[in-house]
């Protein structure tokens, strides 16, 4: 029973697929298992991973957020402009602080519309995405800044450690991955071990029941969207740092891809279900798949086809399974004739 339950979980399925995929890719091209490749994968997964954790929290609460990319680029670009104008020459930490604060502010705007007027989250974040991006491009600026402050420029080389491989190429694991690890642990603890986190699950499971139980829905929602704003601000800043430039027209457009990866990792788009581990697995699956096509000798142009196919198959399999279960009973409990379970 326990084993069966484990296999019924989307997380397990994704983990197994990921594992199998790694074996296959490694078999076709051993380069896959080199440190350099894995450092690359980690680097690619960092920003998407942080976004995805934000998306996860929103999805669990029964909402959907498409504005986080706009928040990210807004925070990143504005921070860069601010500190460039201030001729700041210090370290990267101040960038993160300011970007997180901007993210917080924009997240609170989302929270205000969602919690105060009870508007559908998709519609609110559609509107704010448009507003944030429009405001950024119109008021703050729209040109690509390549001449970034030194602290930010140095960040792209902030490796945790480096390894020199046998061909003499030095590769490093970027420290940004620490952000992902820290945020993942934080999100895990909040979701699993705090009443706030359980309130997020409760809200996604049944809003009405959550209200009756005495959860403060508005406060929970304010937390969710503020937290996602902060995450987006940080992720945006990492994105800018890794790319050594601030492009105001970047990032927006990726939101649906991030949502797809999160759902692939087992989060339910209807709310109430999802885990940090699953989300990280979903992101890794997409990243490994798209980064390794070339290693497998498949032209890079196939990347999207493969990712699209993964999403469709990855969601169709559990859907078909539920469908088969439901077909036999249209509106009655499946256990109608079965004995009533374990009562003394």
């Amino acid at each position: 029973m326990q084993v069966k339950k484990l296999f019924a979980k989307q997380e397990t399925l994704v983990a197994l697929t990921l594992f199998g995929l790694c074996l296959v890719i490694g078999f076709i091209n051993p380069v896959f298992w080199t440190a350099g490749n894995w450092f690359d994968l980690a680097r690619s997964a960092t920003v998407t991973g942080i976004f995805a954790i934000g998306v996860l929290i929103v999805l669990i609460s029964g909402g959907i957020d498409v504005s986080f990319t706009a928040i990210a680029v807004f925070a990143m670009y504005t921070t860069t402009v601010l500190l460039k104008d201030a001729q700041y020459t210090g370290g990267m930490w101040l960038f993160f602080v300011i970007a997180a604060l901007i993210g917080l502010g924009l997240g609170l705007i989302n929270a205000f519309f969602i919690a105060r007027f009870r508007l559908p989250t998709l519609i609110v974040t559609l509107g704010t995405q448009s507003m944030f991006r429009g405001f950024l491009l119109f008021v703050i600026g729209s040109k690509i800044i390549r001449d970034i402050p030194p602290g930010m420029a140095d960040y792209s080389k902030a490796f945790l450690f480096t390894v020199t491989d046998d061909r003499g190429v030095t590769v490093g694991l970027h420290s940004a991955v620490l952000w992902l690890v820290a945020i993942a642990i934080l999100a895990f603890v909040i979701l699993r071990y705090t009443m706030l986190g359980r309130g997020i699950y409760a809200l996604g499971g049944s809003r009405e029941a959550a209200e009756r139980a005495g959860f403060n829905i508005a406060r929970t929602q304010v937390f969710i969207y503020a937290f996602v704003g902060v995450l987006a601000g940080i992720a945006g800043m990492i994105y800018g740092g890794l790319n050594r430039q601030a492009n105001a027209q970047d990032i927006v457009g990726q939101e649906l891809d991030v949502i797809a990866a999160t759902v692939l990792g087992g989060a339910s788009i209807m709310g109430g279900r999802g885990s940090v581990i699953g989300t990280l697995l979903g992101v890794m699956l997409v990243v490994v798949m798209s980064n390794s096509l070339v290693l497998m000798g498949i032209p890079a142009t196939w990347q999207r086809v493969v990712v699209g196919a993964i999403i469709i198959i990855g969601t169709a399999v559990p859907a078909l399974r539920t469908l088969r279960r439901q077909r036999r009973s249209v509106n009655v409990e499946p256990e109608t004739l079965a004995p009533v379970g374990g009562r003394t």
């Binding site: 559609l126 507003m131 429009g134 491009l137 797809a260 999207r304 086809v305 699209g308 469709i312 859907a319």
Partner: protein, 341 residues
């Protein structure tokens, strides 16, 4: 019957609709208000033939996409793949034109070639819609997920076919972008008008259209009423795909080329228009008249702001801000008017 009611009864049907429906009324007022304000602020450029031509060529793309989104939304679903379908069918149509219409083709050859291109585009659009419909209706995938997946898939196929490059249509379709009926009405606007006319008949006067509304209102009851829900849903997504292919023709007409990453932001813009139009994202209600009013309001806002902010750098981006703001303002007003009831 009071005299006021008699007046309402005798008015044109669309007037009655606008008066009865609070959201439509607000949109209508917004449209008129923005138009008047812009006319007063920029009398020399806003109410001109030039400006009408330019506005009339701009809004139909998102307008037609919004109709596509509305069709899916009426059933309680959504179609995120419309732009990727438009790009795929645009690319294939352009490839067809390049391959089968020689440079020195006669007029007859050109016409036959173009018809072929349109047929290809429409067929591809409907085929993509069919896959969406099957995933939603037969596999029982949540529409948002199904079309998220196919969006990536269709975009991917386009990338594979074109190796990521733009495909040019040899100026064969550019007449769509630069011909004006009676010197005023751009062809894209005509296409939009035809789409609205055809779909208002489909939605209001056919059994299929009514079934879409009923399914969106209560899918279970629809099934228990003997409505073939899967088939109707598949029909909805096929139509949505077909409309995406229509948009592909407008794209080709205006840009003379198609590319995999063209206009990704149109998806969310089209959803924004549909929601602003009062289409219920949960399904069951929404009117084409709302789409027309919403897209006009947004176009007036964008054009007006462009004119006002011409001198300001990045002025063209202000419209994005204004669109989002308009959506939120209308939603908040709706919230308060709901509560008053």
């Amino acid at each position: 019957m009071t005299s006021q009611e008699t007046a309402r009864q005798s008015a044109a049907p669309w007037v009655r609709l606008v008066v009865r429906d609070g959201n439509l009324l607000r949109l209508f007022i917004a449209c008129v208000l923005i138009f008047v304000v812009m006319t007063l602020l920029r009398p020399e450029v806003f109410p001109t033939v030039e400006n009408f031509r330019s506005m009339g060529s701009q809004f139909p793309e998102v307008g037609v996409l919004a109709v596509a989104i509305m069709i899916a939304m009426l059933t309680g679903g959504i179609d995120l793949s419309v732009v990727s379908i438009a790009n795929l069918s645009g690319v294939l149509a352009a490839l067809f034109i390049r391959t089968f219409i020689p440079a020195e083709a006669s007029d007859v050859q050109v016409v036959i070639g173009l018809i072929g291109a349109v047929v290809i585009a429409f067929a591809v659009g409907m085929l993509c819609g069919l896959l969406n419909g099957l995933l939603v209706a037969r596999v029982n995938l949540t529409p948002i997920l199904a079309t998220l997946g196919t969006m990536t898939l269709y975009t991917g196929i386009t990338v594979v076919i074109t190796r990521g490059n733009a495909v040019f249509a040899e100026n064969r379709l550019t007449f769509i972008g630069n011909t004006y009926l009676f010197g005023v009405i751009p062809i894209p606007m005509l296409i939009f008008a035809v789409v609205v006319a055809v779909f208002s008949v489909i939605l209001n006067r056919t059994a299929f259209g009514l079934k879409l509304y009923l399914i969106g209102t209560n899918e279970k009851a629809a099934r228990f009423s003997g409505i073939d829900v899967p088939r109707t849903l598949i029909g909805a997504y096929v139509l949505s795909g077909l409309l995406a292919a229509v948009v592909a023709m407008i794209f080709l007409g205006r840009n003379n080329s198609a590319k995999w990453d063209f206009a990704p932001s149109y998806v969310l813009q089209a959803i924004l228009v549909a929601v602003l139009a009062g289409v219920n994202p949960a399904g069951g209600s929404g009117r084409l008249l709302g789409i027309v009013l919403a897209i006009l309001a947004l176009q007036f806002v964008s054009t007006g702001l462009n004119m006002l902010l011409l001198a300001v750098s990045g002025g063209q981006f202000f419209k994005e801000f204004a669109w989002g703001a308009l959506l939120l303002i209308i939603m908040v007003i709706n919230y308060f008017s709901e509560r008053r009831k």
